[in-house]
Amino acid sequence: MKTGNPRHAFHRRGFLKRAAAALGSSFFSPHSGSVLAQDFPGREDRLGMLVDLTRCIGCRRCEAACNQTSSLPAPEIPFGDKSVFEEKRRTNAKTYTVVNRYPNPQRVGMPVYVKTQCMHCDEPACVSACLVGALKKTPEGPVIYNADVCIGCRYCIISCPFYIPAYEYSNAFEPKVQKCFMCHDTRILKGEVPACATECPVEALTFGKRRDLLVLARSRIMENPDRYVDHIYGEREVGGTSWLYISGVPFEQLGFPGNLGTTPYPMLTREFLSFVPLVLVVWPALLGGFYLMTKRRMQEDRAESGEPKKPEQTLEA
């Protein structure tokens, strides 16, 4: 990553450019705001993961594999212990992925297990929230994080529609945002498959190019229309995500955030940001105009009242 070292990241020209951007002028230029929807930089053959919820048996081996490969602290309840399913869990600073159990309304006694982690959105809310660019969508697909520049504002956590990123609130000196990075540095860059997918004993997780995964998901649904609901979660949600899910039970019944819409989140603030240059141009002209009118009026008042005209005198004194 270019921003890997903050010391190298400081270039004078870059600074001036960003200062201009901060003031809004960059919105005039066609090259700015690359996070905006039209210029989505994702590669055609970016990677993804397909989760087939009809296959998952809730063994939690993906959780264990993730824990190990990401060097996270050992969990309080061991991975083999099924009692964790009594409560719904969410990802946290020590757990990048969790499997939850949901009742299956169609086949009682055959619960549905749902693995949750960062969805690696194509146009992530978290990335557009970050004011220092600590979060990045890589061309390969994963959304990664650079702790060297993160200031800990936690706006990324506010913005994530899937309630994924977590923060190390008990860490006073080096608190970090924590979430699944899809094994980007540890495995994907080496050409390996993410740890969770390698450990899954029933191939509930399929790793591959997102394009191919969509074809695979569609063919599974088509071949077994009774087994699946006709919905690939993540195909269009919030503009598309790298992780895709297919299921036999409607997703709303499985704790997936419903009605997120298909608008990429960065679009939600786009209109506001595009208004910025307008204010920058119109306000000074308008206010300056008002000021000149005022000044003239005061001078005229003064002239009428017979005072000597002092052109350099302004209102401020």
Partner: protein, 386 residues
């Protein structure tokens, strides 16, 4: 020794003693926060990453500090000379408000020692918060300069003062631009959380609602603090200032009334735009109506009524009410109606409240220190003729 002893005893007023105690406890918790992490003093969680510190310090603190830009515009750009006596006070209130907003931010950021990163190290220009960071930093400097003539008069630095004064118009215009953008940007930040903020509060109009209400907040603060100065800092004020306070309060009251009316209208438009009428008959809807009718429409009428009857007391009461309404609105958006659909939420930890009390006390003491030394509530004798 006697000479030292007497001022010390004079200093031990009940107010100062209580203030000192609050400050000490708060400072202790701040030390705890910096040695053990945010979890030791806040109820922040992965679902609710922001809490009372930001709701108060940033989201409520910044709109209530719009006083400087509102009065600066009226006096310097529109030439409303009759408001001139309070303009310095308005700028001081604004400056301290922003300064302490940054203090709260420093307490709440995970790594506050990196607060300058968005300006110098690493950039996220597509983030609304990037805009907020830059603008708050620039506006804080802008207000420091705007207030500097008072400090320079106090320090008797004549030439510097002249230079600083020459900047007034430029700074005022720059300040209005920055204020328009970051007051609204604070609202725009929540545009990124449509599923989390209750639909009655989530609207694409959030930025403009935040901007409009900040003007009402800033004006109310000038009325309110003006009242306090009349009561507690009288001996540091001059006769023209004191004489002008009541007519100015009446004038600001009617301005606030108009602002609140536009704010109310825009809130209704936003409601219609979202077509959320049916939500009004839910408990969240009742709460929304409390805010809309009790803290926007009511003060709007009260201001109008009070200023038409020349009732300064009622204007002042309404100003306090409006300040409460702005705080309520920002708390609703950033805390209460945020994540409304999640079960068992903790809104805040009592230690956060103590820290806030402590920082606010420091803010008041700082204000008193400045206002009782520098020519804020009075004109410096030397420059009176100008």
């Amino acid at each position: 020794m006697l000479q030292v002893g007497r001022p010390a005893r004079e200093w031990m007023t009940p107010f100062n003693v209580v203030a000192g105690l609050i400050v000490l406890v708060g400072l202790y918790f701040i030390v705890v926060r910096f040695s053990q992490g945010l979890a030791s003093i806040t109820d922040a969680s992965d679902d609710q990453p922001w809490g009372l510190l930001l709701s108060w310090g940033l989201f409520a603190g910044v709109p209530l500090s719009a006083s400087g830009f509102a009065l600066g515009t009226a006096v310097y750009l529109f030439g409303m000379k009759e408001y001139h006596p309070v303009v310095r006070n308005a700028i001081l209130i604004g400056f301290l408000g922003y300064f302490f907003a940054v203090v709260f931010l420093l307490i709440d950021l995970g790594r506050p020692w990196r607060i300058y990163y968005p300006m110098f190290v690493s950039f996220g220009p597509a983030s609304v918060m990037f805009l907020v960071a830059w603008h708050v930093a620039l506006y804080l400097s802008c207000q420091a300069l705007e207030f500097s003539p008072a400090a320079l008069e106090w320090l008797k630095l004549k030439i510097l003062r002249r230079w600083a004064l020459a900047l007034t118009i430029g700074l005022t215009i720059f300040g209005v631009i920055l204020s328009t953008l970051h007051q609204s940007a604070l609202g725009a930040m929540f545009l990124l959380a449509p599923g989390k903020l209750h639909p009655l509060w989530y609207t694409p109009y959030l930025p403009w609602l935040f901007f409009l209400s900040s003007i009402a907040g800033g004006l109310s603060m000038v009325i309110f603090v003006g009242m306090l100065t009349q009561r507690f800092l009288k001996r540091h004020a001059d006769a023209p200032y004191l004489a002008s306070l009541e007519p100015i309060s009446l004038g600001l009251g009617s301005a606030a009334s108009i602002t609140l009316f536009s704010y109310f209208a825009l809130k209704v438009i936003a409601l219609a735009h979202g077509d959320h009428w049916q939500l009004l008959s839910t408990p969240w809807g009742y709460w929304y109506l409390v805010e809309l009718l009790g803290f926007v429409l009511l003060p709007c009428f009260l201001f109008a009524y009070a200023s038409s009857r020349n009732n300064v007391t009622l204007v002042r009461f309404t100003a306090i009410w409006t300040i409460g309404g702005i705080i309520l609105n920002r708390f609703n958006v950033s805390l209460i109606a945020f994540n409304w659909s999640l079960p068992d939420r903790q809104l805040f930890h009592w230690k956060e409240l103590v820290i806030i009390l402590s920082v606010v006390t420091i803010q008041i003491l700082t204000y008193r220190w400045i206002a009782s030394r520098m020519p804020v509530l009075r004109e410096d004798q030397q420059y009176q003729s100008e």
